[in-house]
Symmetry: C2
Subunit: 161 residues, 2 copies
DNA sequence: GTACCCCTACTCGGATAGCGAGTGTCCGAGTCGGAATGG
DNA sequence: CCATTCCGACTCGGACACTCGCTATCCGAGTAGGGGTAC
């Protein structure tokens, strides 16, 4: 099982958007340049975030992406769901209904014990991701990152806006 | 993100092995037939379980696979780890060290907030899977499955052993 | 009758093709800002 | 000097190739068990 790299990219991009002053848009190309990523592919993932309503997009000069909601209301799960889709990683194929000892559909109104356990595990995973918002990430970062470095990053962004 | 179907197959196969009397081996072909799965592919996953030490294999007539440990000591995580490998789904590529504002390696002794959050979420996921053993699955099943059906399954297996 | 040997059938194990999701890229659609122009 | 129009540059958005890992399969390696043979 492997998570798409795009999730990491999207998460970092959203963290950057959350750190910006309100009302400022950033192009996908700039977001890509900031982390040395392929611009076109980065744009593709930003489109996914826009479709999911995590960010809003504006075309034309001075346009770009910005967060659609306050940073405290955007969780990591929102980003994962936007980029990878809402489907669970574990998908029960109901093999208990196959083979010479197949269970009848009437007996399968409830998921089998194995599927239930995997669904519970994924629920725990999602819950953990839903508990982390962009705001909490930035708060954590502010505590551990030197103010000098933070200023350095914002200064670089200023030159590009 | 998508989990390999082999995990579901392996989990059901292990549950079947756990339900058998001790000392009985079952061939990969029979495990596959029981759930109408491709025999050769099923065998491949059983090999993975054997390599990981979840099951033991015996060649020759009357051989096959059996659990390497009591069912209470085999968790769903053991099976996932055996089939999919121990690597986490989220793999931080350290993009903070790339680009024009790259962080220096000395600043990156700790994982970034995003990677930390994903690792915590996966830890919760693994923890949930480690809490479910084959024994607990069988206990749950015994509570919900009719005794008649259980007898039916064992009867079919008898004819094939 | 018994012990030994060989042979067959059965099982695992790794090496080998095929396919689909994710990866990466490009060009067209749409929009804003400013420069040029005429009143 | 000001309003209007037009043009250009910038940005998003979806459509098009490519790659790698999961899917699926086959054939060789190794072993247990039984039958045959010699003593």
């Amino acid at each position: 099982m492997r998570m798409s790299d795009g999730v990491e990219w999207a998460a970092h991009a959203c963290a950057l958007l959350a750190a910006l002053p309100e009302g400022v848009g950033v192009s996908a190309a700039l977001l890509a340049e900031f982390n040395d990523l392929p611009p076109a592919y980065m744009a593709k993932h930003m489109q996914a975030l826009a479709r999911a309503g995590v960010v809003t997009s504006a075309r034309g000069a001075g346009g770009g992406y910005r967060l659609a909601r306050p940073a405290s209301e955007v969780t990591l799960w929102d980003i994962v769901e936007a980029v990878e889709g809402p489907e669970p990683a574990f998908r029960c194929t109901e093999i208990r209904q196959k083979g010479p000892c197949a269970a009848k559909p009437a007996e399968c109104r409830h998921p089998c014990q194995i599927a239930a356990a995997f669904h519970a595990a994924e629920k725990a995973w999602r819950g953990s991701l839903k508990a982390v918002s962009l705001a909490s990430i930035l708060a954590d970062l502010a505590r551990k990152q030197s103010p000098a470095r933070r200023a350095e990053l914002l200064a670089w962004l200023e030159t590009k806006l």
